[in-house]
Point group: D2
């Protein structure tokens, strides 16, 4: 029996549905030279979906199985020029072909491959690069586009040029100041493109990804760091300064602690040589860097603990 | 050299920092009977943090190491009555003791343990329950509280009383209709409490968790389902109907497909007996159920693919 | 160009092949009451397989796709009484039906489900138990059987009745002795059955699993422990003493360290109350307990780091 | 009460213990140019350890905490020239310094890093390579050495030059023959060195690793494959032929199925272009390639399902 001590019957709020993690590999043959694209595509649709929640009527529901089929069919029909371009094809299709669907969001993970060099003409052998995973999220409501690209699991480390001191002390503070420490993180980043309108010229997604990644890595490596926040801001501001197509960048940076091991019980000095790489807990530094005047739209939590 | 083709210098947007995944185990001894609480606590603070990003000055920064120490010290000072109560102690402390900190958010995972029965008086042996992980998120800005509790990885399955038919068909639709299928999902749920003000009576967090979990399970089991969306809504509306302390529930439900294996090539019938449990892709159904008149505040994406 | 500085051309050694991780769910309907078996089955075959390695001839190769089909067909034909019995059906089939196959090994993981209680007659709703994973490995060479059962990921903890002192000290020893510590581990265990011959009566696999698991848990809980090795041996010897059908038990027990947090900097005592649960590194204790006179056959490494 | 229906009291069999997964990072400074070694080191010791199992006496037990300390102290004292050389230092130390310890086995995972190029003199920024994990296992009994090196998680793919046909057919065979398929696997490999005696010259471990990895990749890429077994044997025999320091190689190769998607329902051809990359089940092909006349010592199961 329902409790009636507080008014307010249940109503449906925001909802979305689709097929997640469609693994699609596309081989393109240019004579004996093959090219590979390796994606993990998740489709999320929303619109007039009250009835399927209230009564179970599927009259407005395009099955998630169909969204899966569409991903594979589009890989053939449109090819995969870039993750972003592929997502644009998909999002436009769902919103424009199905009246009850008002908004589509496509999320894509891309895994990079390198060639294995072989003698002779053929070029069809690959080894997975295994570094960061490239990310793209494309949202469309029939009028405006929102493209957020990014990466995750790019692990970087500076073995010097990092300090941490001058912080607040309270009754629970025991941390000694550090004048030379290791700074390491697994970069998780998302950047939002200015492009939102079919009438405007579309960015060169692959070029933009490559340059943005370079700026991010350079800023990490070249910043003499007094805090991981400072390094984060240096990475974001370098991107905003150099990539006019990008309006907003957000980072989630775990501070992967490398603790200097105390070797004095063994009669040994440890002059910043031997570290214990800890798992948990870790610092977690998160922030957005915006182009002045632009709206922040990337959600605060890139990862969900 | 920075690109100057678009105006707008970089500025700092939303930011937060803290120590994530502090694993704290608290043993309470009631004579020979011991009790255990096993938490994973993540602290996230925000406030006047411009300078640490712009110049690296840590003058406003309470070290994440200090937030870790505080977690352990508070486990001793205040005990751990419930994850929610523990998070309230922590959030209040950070916001009220540090002027530059304006908002604290504590996220907690709790792992349940059962007793191993032993002869004699002692009761200090435990086996981890291993079912769902209980979740709590406590946010405080010095005036208002926001408590969102929940769970993840509660895997449920109905072996009948589920159908799927009457859906939209387009040129990419090949799915046959199903009049009797397995319905299975890993429940990820969050529910937001009405309580927001120290002047109001605090809910009984453990009682609320236990009852909400029961309603959720019962609604899953008792709903004759025409779509996973319908089952989702039944779970959420049952909670809103029965738990006046809760204003909003959000679910993220992967449709864990169990495909009936075609055994006809082997001269065998398969009358809903033998299934292939697939990994990827999977349907993903997400929605909020709100108490009418309440505001939706739980973010749309509980998980980040 | 090959190096000829050492004689010895390459030759094929031990080899095996098959389809791994076939996820099969079997629903058995007893009127409105349903039963569920949820397995992950891996098939591994060996025999006259030289040519497929040397020349690529598949003339002796039953495709791994066929072994997958056989798993699903056998779930229908023979049902799944227990993981062990199901594995026996499969192993016998491969060895006796295919002349080139001389040995089959079936490995099975089983996931347990509990009922969700519902009003009315139906009983077809389940929640995954989520505790340990049950394991079974069945090997057959056409004459002899070897059945090794076990479990993994059973996490247990004693909050007292554990000490550690009186150990060897060398120049790298800094550990203080402990007179009262938390002892916790994730039990990984395998036990080998005496049964090897079709002419002998087959054990009651489910009964044996349930009793063995109970002995293991009881011995963990009831042993006053001076070392994790002592606890391990207590678990193994209790099983050998009470279960005549078992000849050999092997354990791999990570010592999941729970470090007492030093709260003295905060003016607080920590009387075995607040612990940091560490991830890595961890102690790793592994041993076999044998029935005297029996041969040891379970490999030394249950897990591969 | 113990069952006495079968004779045979419990006795201790093979046992080993130590500290697993010690994460050690070593920075070596050559002026402004830094070098990094990033290891995960697991120590396993065995010897006169009956009493610690039977009575809990730790009189022969060097604590696992001490083995952890030794790892960090040796990183300073001996440096980390290679994983293998570091493991040799550790194994020799434990066996020769502690009378009750008769055998030591050191397992090491190594994570590779690349430099991030920066202007100016400094070279102290790194990005984790993220491809395969390098492996080394060093065992010593006071007289003989056994060194097994290897790698895991090296993902490779050929987009053509793979066929699969001419296999055995039984009543459960439905697989169509393939004349042009994608062949992909995550290579897990171990190779055992001939070197076993301090009197013999030690291999150049890093050079051997680099060349062995090259042969493995080349053989994968250059083999026109009629079965994954044939490709496996080509990889192993190429190594035995070219690397005289290696006596034995073992592979565990999951056949990562890439299924050609049927696009005919959508009026589209799929001429080896669009694939579904499946997770489970997968073929699993495992074999040893030996130098003729050498003994096989690498265990059959590199991974434990």
């Amino acid at each position: 029996m329902a409790d009636t001590s507080r008014p307010g019957r249940p109503v449906l709020g925001q909802n979305q549905y689709g097929k997640a993690e469609n693994r699609v590999v596309k081989i393109t043959r240019d004579g004996a030279t093959h090219h590979i694209k390796d994606l993990n595509v998740s489709v999320s649709l929303s619109g007039d979906m009250e009835e399927v929640h209230y009564s179970g009527s599927n009259a407005n529901v395009l099955p998630t199985d169909t969204t899966k089929n569409t991903v594979y069919a589009f890989a053939k029909k449109h090819g995969i020029d870039s993750a972003e371009q592929f997502g644009i094809h998909l999002a436009r299709h769902f919103v424009t072909s199905q009246e009850p669907i008002h908004r589509a969001r496509i999320r894509i993970e891309e895994y990079a491959w390198e060639r294995v060099e072989t003698p002779g003409e053929g070029a069809h052998s690959f080894v997975r690069k295994g570094q960061e995973t490239r990310l793209a999220q494309i949202a469309y409501d029939g009028e405006r586009w929102e493209v957020v690209s990014g990466l995750k699991d790019l692990t970087v480390l500076n073995s010097t040029d990092s300090e941490f001191w001058g912080y607040v002390r309270d009754e629970y503070t025991t941390l000694p100041e550090a004048r030379d420490r290791v700074l390491a993180t697994d970069v998780s980043a998302r950047w939002r493109y200015h492009w939102a309108d079919d009438a405007e010229p579309v960015p060169d997604w692959d070029e933009s990804y490559a340059r943005t990644r370079e700026h991010l890595l350079s800023a990490f490596a070249e910043t003499y760091s007094l805090s991981l926040q400072q390094t984060l801001y240096a990475m974001g501001s370098r991107i905003v300064d150099h990539r006019p197509e990008i309006d907003e960048v957000r980072f989630s940076l775990p501070n992967k602690h490398h603790f200097l091991v105390d070797l004095t019980p063994f009669g040994l000095e440890n002059d910043n040589e031997v570290y214990f790489a800890a798992d948990r807990p870790y610092g977690l530094i998160e922030a957005t860097v915006l182009r002045d005047g632009c709206e922040a739209r990337i959600p605060a939590d890139l990862t969900n603990l």
